[in-house]
Amino acid sequence: MENKKQKQGLGKEAVQLLKSNIRDYMMYIALVVIMIFFTIQTHGGFIQARNIANLINQAGYVAILAIGMTLILILVHIDLSVGYVAGFCGAVAAVLITQFHINEWVAILLVLVLGLVIGLYQGLLVTRVGVPAFVTTLAGMFIFRGLLNLTLQKTGTIIIPNEGFNALSNGFIPDLPLGSSIHVLTMIIGVVAVIAAVYVQIRARNNKLKYNFSVPSTPIFVGKLIVLSAIIMVIMWVLASYSGLPWTAVIVGVVLLIYNYMLTKTRLGRYIYGIGGNAQAAELSGINVKKVTLFAFCSMSVLAALAGVLYTSRLQSATPTAGLGFELDAIASSYIGGVAVSGGIGRVTNTIIGTLVIMSLTNGMNLMGVDISYQYVVKGIIFIVAVAFDVRTRSKAK
């Protein structure tokens, strides 16, 4: 009898949890539905290890851009220039490596510095001169598109014959020399990630319990942990059965961890949410709004430079068309990932899910051979549905 009661309570709690977090869950559900859809349509081709690795490599530069964009959008600004900043920086990296014969790692570092300079230029225009970000970065679109063309004017497309550089977006992490058929290091990383995730979750829950905050009941919590761990392990298993973890995943993972920590644990993160929520109130609370905004623009452009490096590495060449429409994917990823259109709300971890949604669509439709024109329409529809849903659920919550 008692057992039955508990079960009813559990069901109720699950529904309650689903209702109050409908926004987040919808995103996951959408991703799963999209993946299942493409798997069926491509007769399993989509879910194959080879394609998953491919998807990760494809999504890498968008993910990096979207992480930076999340900060900008939380602050209720926008950066339209990221695509061509990425394209330009990628081209500069190619020139440095092929024409000036600079070591690839030094070249990447130089390009990141170039990104910082671009960020300073745009950030100072927005914060000190007071030009709206929309205008500043629209001008940036013109400028960096022009600079990209100028950089490649003499040579045209530059092929980069540099293995280290190209491995960034095509290569996989090396395995331990055990001669096993599956990729052991990948599995080890998977296990470590699961342990870390479980540890962090349990610690957070215990902390909440200490302060008598409401937490999900134990079965639900354990259920969530099991699902989370299973997802990580399945992905790692699939990757390990192919060539292992792509370098791109490692790079995105590191950037994601840093930005997530920054946003959730540090003062800077708090300030970003505060300014996005109410800039005037933030200023009067002693927050240096201009400095924080400048930081966000610098971070955005540095990440754009990194995205440019990844994209160039992926193509193994720098082309004058690189960067076209990147900003659209990045902005769409952030909004699909739950950044509030009115600012002040958003998480980089969810943005990554948004990126996966957008890039799964791209990847899946490419596999199906859908014409690129239709692809844009489909992506646009998914984007607007996600944002409309977001706006509705938020206004209801009020």
Partner: protein
């Protein structure tokens, strides 16, 4: 004998989890001024939203009988058509449009399919005259003060041929002069046959103007008092509002001794580049340790501007002369951050606009101004943060289920308490409170006064800016009066009377 223009019978309105109105009965006689009072959250605004159709027919139970007919309003348009107009606390006008455009905005006068501008101007001028606003109707709304904008809003209501006018705290943002003006206007409209329902927290106004007073508490009608049968006193209203006697609105402080001067302005002169003129002229004031200094003046006297100019100048004024001394040391703060670091804090008058971050929770807002204190290495110590936020929540009685409650969902009084908690955590030497009790109910006001007393007893100094004269007189040890950017008078609490202060406040 009773001729009711409006009868709301057994109105019950529920929101998820709360019963906002519970069997409320509310009857308004034709041609009277009916005041609706109650603490924040008592259900006044909800009741008016039910009446005006914002909460649609069908989402509540009970009857609305208006002019003898049961109504089923599906939206504001329906109720407006029947001659019910509601004027909200926040003005619903467009600053960049002219007065005549504003008056007929949403119900333009048409000739065929086009707007008949000539007719609009003629009619609008007439309406503006009715509210005794003798200005050029083609001037932009934004060039008028808040008081006069309020009048434009009423002119707009009149242009719709209003029979029942609902005013939601019309004088909350007005100074004494403008308030008086507005109240007189409401009386005049009454003579012209317009029935008014007024929601207000200012009990003095209510007793002066009301024919009938209805008190709501916790979503229920407590009583309806006819002011012509017997004289209703403020004390009586308060007793019904809070459900108990309140002997003293202003709590007394035991220890009234003050220390040395901690904050001083000498010949402080400020320009506003946007207006292109000097807005503060040679201000000289000082505040001692453990003292509450009032800063009284009419709206536009420059009190908030003064606060902004000393508090790191976030509005971008130009300080052209004078010195600011904190504990004898000369300072000129570049931004609020610097001011806060040096022991100055400013609680803004507009807690929703620029005081709090509404989409964040109590915990976030409590600690945001002093995260330095909670940071260890790179990260914020969240355990410590939760401890601090809970401590303040309990200490100053913020009513919320937990510190994870979003600020936007709290009542005005509780929001104000969070603002105070935020600055208490910073622990400044001098705290500037700008209209600390605006739009807050009596009970919460008392708590905030008590808290102010506690803070000065602990050695803090408070500068209290307020438009409510009784409050300034009741709370200050000493007070300055400002008018048109100048200090026009200084009184000790013993010397000050309403009469004397008002004389100084209107002096130019």
């Amino acid at each position: 004998m009773n001729d009711y223009i409006l009868e709301m019978n057994n109105i019950t309105k529920e929101f998820p989890g709360v019963k906002a109105l519970n069997n409320v009965n509310f009857k308004v006689q034709r041609g009277e001024i009916h005041c609706l009072v109650g603490e924040n959250g008592a259900g006044k605004s909800t009741l008016m939203k039910v009446l005006s159709g914002v909460h649609q027919f069908g989402t509540y139970s009970g009857d609305i009988v208006y002019n003898g007919e049961v109504q089923s309003f599906k939206g504001i348009a329906d109720s407006e058509e029947k001659g019910i107009a509601i004027i909200y606390q926040e003005l619903a006008l467009i600053p960049e449009l002219s007065l005549y455009e504003n008056v007929y905005f949403g119900h333009e006068i048409l000739k065929g399919k086009n707007i008949d501008w000539n007719e609009t101007i003629v009619k609008a001028t007439e309406m503006l005259k009715k509210v005794r606003l003798d200005v050029d109707p083609s001037m932009k709304l934004k060039s008028l003060g808040v008081g006069k904008q309020q009048l434009v809003e009423i002119a707009k209501a009149l242009s719709k041929d209003v029979k029942l006018l609902i005013l939601d705290e019309p004088t909350a943002a007005l100074n004494e002069d403008d308030s008086q003006n507005l109240l007189n206007l409401i009386k005049e409209l009454k003579e012209q046959g317009v029935t008014s329902i007024m929601i207000s927290h200012k009990l003095r106004e209510i007793t002066a103007i009301a024919d009938t007073i209805t008190v709501l508490r916790d979503g229920a009608t407590i009583c309806s008092m006819d002011c012509h049968e017997h004289e209703v006193t403020e004390a009586e209203i308060i007793r019904h509002m809070v459900g108990r006697d309140m002997d003293n609105i202003y709590p007394q402080r035991e220890d009234k001794t003050c220390g040395d001067v901690v904050f001083e302005l000498k010949d402080w002169t400020v320009d506003d580049p946007k207006k292109g003129r000097e807005i503060l002229h040679n201000i000289n004031i000082n505040v001692r340790k453990g003292e509450i200094v009032g800063l009284q003046g009419l709206m536009g006297a420059g009190r908030t501007e003064l606060a902004h100019s000393v508090f790191g100048n976030p509005t971008g004024y130009k300080i052209t002369g004078g010195t600011l001394l904190m504990e004898g040391k000369e300072q000129r703060f570049k931004n609020p951050k610097e001011a806060i670091k040096n022991g100055l804090a400013y609680v803004t008058e507009d807690r929703k606009g620029n005081g709090l971050i509404l989409i964040q929770d109590i915990r976030y807002n409590t600690t945001i101004a002093n995260l330095e204190k909670l940071t260890e290495g790179l990260a914020i110590n969240e355990n410590e943060e939760i401890r601090v936020a809970n401590e303040y929540k309990d200490a100053i009685n913020i009513k919320a289920p937990s510190i994870e409650q979003k600020i936007g969902n709290l009542s005005g009084g509780n929001q104000q308490k969070v603002q105070l908690a935020k600055w208490m955590f910073v622990n400044p030497k001098v705290l500037i409170l700008d209209e600390p009790t605006r739009g807050i109910d009596v009970g919460a006001k008392f708590e905030i006064y008590t808290l102010m007393n506690k803070l000065v007893e602990q050695g803090m100094s408070i500068i209290m800016i307020s438009s409510e004269l009784p409050e300034v007189l009741g709370m200050s040890d000493r007070l300055y009066v400002m008018s048109e950017g100048k200090i026009t008078g200084e009184f000790t609490s013993e010397e000050a009377t309403e009469q004397k202060v008002m004389e100084m406040a209107i002096k130019s």
